[in-house]
């Protein structure tokens, strides 16, 4: 077959990924997006015009050689595609599913200027799934350096850092407070977006190949401290995330049925509450659910709520309930990924924009019966550049609700910093760290991911873990006396903004 011209490539439409039907999937926890077939993948790969200066790579926090791996897919050489992918990203099956490609690599794709960009994320997922099933890429690990690194937190940042450090020949131990590694990938992101078996396989495979020790049930700040880790390790990376939930400061937040998205999602995902009573942890919502916020976590909470309602309706034979997303700004400011919003809409989630709760109303038994809200309008732009929502006087009204889930963002868990007073933090509770390499104010301690940036994306955390690993390696391999290193350390730290 003759090679296609760029013009011909650009005429191929962007390939859709098969998905479960919305009416069917809103009643189960199985994966929504089913992945490309070989044919679809090849066709999509054919669309890439192999730019000489691939700007898509600039949008990738871990700099995956995007055109190269797509070329290998086009040629039907998936082993090669996987090898190229894994030079930069060890968790492609995960990233292919949860990365916001539309704001990172795909937004830069030149095809997007006139039409639709190459579906880089879907191709990444295709390659990641192939590699996960076939395990073709040999792991080449550098010889043992004799240095030891401790990684705190087995989420995206910590695991990426751990894998890179182990590849470079360092002895790595990961400390995780929950019962299984994965962080937000296991407690936060639902099964229908990211199957847990896959997370587990991809993480454990990487860990096993590289001799990484993962210690679960180890709670930093209580069972051990950073200072203790520093006595037994040469370097410490903190990828402890942003696990502390926020509640609105309005009356009624302690009524039964009010919860944080963290609690709700942890019950559903990590503890498999949707399989109660086969699993012991119950997860339940009422017939009318309000999720406050419109980020990815809010979409996840809303869609999990709806699935729980559907399972309950199946059991009782009644009509399933309603799930509302209540957001104080307008559709234009919604921070969630476009695909997540689209999926939520398809599944029948109701969006109440420019609406803000002012009070949660309880019944005589301490349960939620409603939510007093006020209508908002957009005023002048605020510090974030978005137009500030302003309450409209006299527009209060009551929504009947049985469950209210707060998905308002999270901040780092203060527990992490017990006995680590020399670790400088910002007023938001995040760790002060060099934005490029992750060095903190504490000698031999690096940090990256949500603990530094506040709640952000999986791939940004992975990028930070990767950058920190490179710097930790440089530091450990330098061979300069410790005293000298300590003297030069402070200079590497950025001041809080």
């Amino acid at each position: 077959m003759a090679e296609l011209t760029p013009k011909e490539r650009m005429q191929i439409p962007r390939q859709k990924m098969p998905e479960q039907d919305p009416l069917q999937r809103r009643c189960n926890f199985s994966e929504v997006a089913l992945g490309f077939t070989e044919e679809l993948a090849q066709k999509e790969a054919d669309r890439c015009i192999q730019c000489k200066k691939p700007v898509c790579i600039e949008g990738c926090p871990v700099e995956v050689p995007i055109p190269e791996f797509i070329k290998a897919v086009r040629e039907g050489n998936l082993k090669e595609a996987a090898r190229i992918m894994k030079t930069k990203n060890n968790l492609p099956a995960i990233c292919g599913r949860v990365c916001p490609q539309e704001t990172q690599c795909e937004i830069r794709c030149v095809l997007g200027k006139k039409g639709e960009p190459v579906a880089i994320g879907r191709l990444e997922r295709y390659v990641g799934d192939f590699e996960l099933a076939k395990k073709t890429v040999p792991v080449v690990q550098a010889p043992d350096t004799g240095k030891k690194a401790a990684i705190v937190g087995a989420g995206p940042a910590g695991l990426t850092c751990a894998v890179d450090m182990a590849l470079l020949g360092h002895k790595v131990t990961v400390f995780e407070s929950l019962q299984s590694p994965g962080g937000v990938l296991v407690y936060g992101i639902p099964e229908f977006r990211l199957p847990k078996k896959m997370v587990n396989d991809e993480i454990l495979y990487a860990a096993q190949c590289l001799g990484i020790r993962i210690c679960v049930d180890h709670v930093i700040g209580r069972a051990f401290t950073i200072d203790e880790l520093l006595t037994e390790h040469d370097a410490v990376f903190m990828g402890t995330g942003a696990g502390l939930p926020s509640f609105m400061r309005i009356p009624g937040i302690n009524y039964n049925g009010v919860m944080s998205a963290n609690e709700f999602l942890t019950r559903v995902n990590l503890m498999k509450g949707y399989l109660f009573p086969e699993f012991d942890t119950p997860a339940k919502v009422g017939r009318r659910v309000a999720v406050i916020g419109a980020g990815n976590v809010a979409m996840d909470s809303a869609r999990c709520s709806q699935r729980l309602q559907a399972l309950e309706a199946k059991r009782t034979g009644e009509k399933p309930g309603e799930v509302h997303i209540v957001y104080r700004r307008s559709p234009a400011e919604v921070p969630a990924r476009a695909e997540e919003v689209h999926h939520a809409e398809e599944e029948g989630i109701i969006f109440d924009f420019l609406t803000n709760p002012t009070e949660i109303l309880g019944d005589e038994n301490g349960g939620v019966k409603g939510m007093r809200c006020i209508r908002m309008e957009l005023g002048e732009p605020d510090e974030s550049g978005r137009r500030r929502p302003v309450p409209i006087k006299g527009s209060e009204f009551v929504m009947d609700m049985e469950t209210v889930i707060f998905a308002l963002g999270t901040s780092p868990n203060p527990l992490v910093f017990v006995d680590a007073l020399d670790l400088q933090r910002t007023k938001h509770g995040t760790v002060v760290a060099d934005p490029k390499v992750g060095r903190t104010t504490k000698f031999r301690v690096w940090a990256g991911g949500d603990v530094v940036t506040g709640a952000a994306t999986v791939i940004e955390a992975m990028g930070a873990g990767k950058a920190a690993a490179a710097d930790m390696h440089k530091f450990l391999a330098g061979g300069a006396p410790l005293k000298e290193l300590e003297a030069s350390w402070a200079g590497a730290v950025a001041q809080p903004t």
Binding site: S177, L178, Q179, Y187, V216, D217, H218, V219, R222, A223, F224, G243, L244, P245, F247, I253, N254, Y255, N256, G257, M259, S260, N262, E263, T266, R267, M271, K272, F276, P277, E278, F279, D280, T281, P282, K284, N365, G366, G367, N413, P414, L415
Partner: protein, 290 residues
């Protein structure tokens, strides 16, 4: 797996287990708790540390079989183990030299009160302890409590052991007699007992500390399900507690939140009992059809 080194049956429904968990034992202090989980399908439940042995790397827990998980735990044997045994969590009790103190333990709450009373005694305090339960068969550690107290008052609701009284009765008498002497009171037990203890001590304005056992998932500050309303706003029991000033707690809200999953708890218990019945029928070879 965290192995059960020793199991002791304190009563039909109260069991003691010594569990191998060196990383918990290393740091554990009176007043802290652990999160335990049985098997891959298990829920994470908080249990207060009843004792610990740093050298042996072991932690003692005591629990009452009230729900499916604790019933399941009660059926485990020495040599079995837990899938999760994470901790120590929460703040330890602030032990100081306060002078004269009272330690009140109700039911299974006697277990967490013991290490606190012991530490207070070791710090040079005069410790008067009151322990109580519904009935004699639910009382335990009387001798241990006596050994760390200058005076021990035992009471049961039905009078089968010690005084026939609720723990608040001897407490009130003590306070009437020499209320000014006491600088602090600890009370641990069922939420209702702690609530009434708080009411009893309130008029005397003696700082009263309770250890709350709210519903938790992770136990590390992540879910906020354990939040409790105090005078000055909501706090997380897992990271801000588990001990709080009893006079500041909104008991009505606390009691209501404890009951949120009652229907599911009941369902799980029935399912467990059914499974146990089938298992024992199968074991005795007398499985009937239907």
């Amino acid at each position: 797996m965290y192995k059960i080194l020793r199991k002791e049956v304190l009563s039909d429904i109260i069991k003691l287990m010594v569990v191998e968990a060196p990383q918990v034992a290393r740091k554990a202090r009176a007043g802290q708790f652990v999160i335990v989980r049985i098997g891959e399908n298990g829920e994470r439940i908080p249990l207060t540390v009843a004792d610990f042995d740093r050298r042996a790397g072991a932690v003692t827990i005591i629990f009452q079989e009230v729900g499916k998980s604790t019933m399941h735990m009660g059926s485990l044997k020495e040599g079995d183990g837990f899938s999760t045994f994470a901790g120590p969590l929460g703040h330890p009790t602030e032990i100081g030299k306060y002078g004269a103190v009272i330690c009140v333990g109700g039911g299974v709450g006697i277990a967490p009160v013991y290490p606190i009373a012991r530490a207070l005694r070791e710090a040079g305090n005069e410790v008067i302890s009151i322990i109580g339960a519904r009935s004699k068969n639910l009382l335990f550690w009387e001798e241990k409590m006596r050994s760390v107290s200058s005076e021990l008052i035992v009471c049961t609701d039905d009078g089968t052991c010690g005084r026939k009284a609720l723990v608040t009765e001897p407490l009130k008498e003590l306070l009437e007699m020499r209320g000014k002497d006491f600088s602090r009171i600890w009370a641990i037990g069922p939420a209702v007992m702690m609530k009434f203890t708080a009411q009893t001590t309130q008029p005397y304005k003696i700082p009263t500390i309770v250890s709350l056992n709210t519903i938790m998932v992770d136990g590390t500050g992540m879910c906020g399900g354990c939040r409790v309303l105090l005078d000055d706003g909501a706090k997380f029991v897992c990271v801000d507690g588990p001990e709080f000033d009893a006079h500041k707690v909104d008991w009505k809200s606390l009691l209501s939140r404890l009951g949120f999953y009652r229907a599911e708890e009941r369902q799980a218990v029935e399912r467990w009992k059914h499974k146990c019945a089938l298992d024992s029928a199968a074991a005795s070879g007398s499985v009937r059809n239907g």
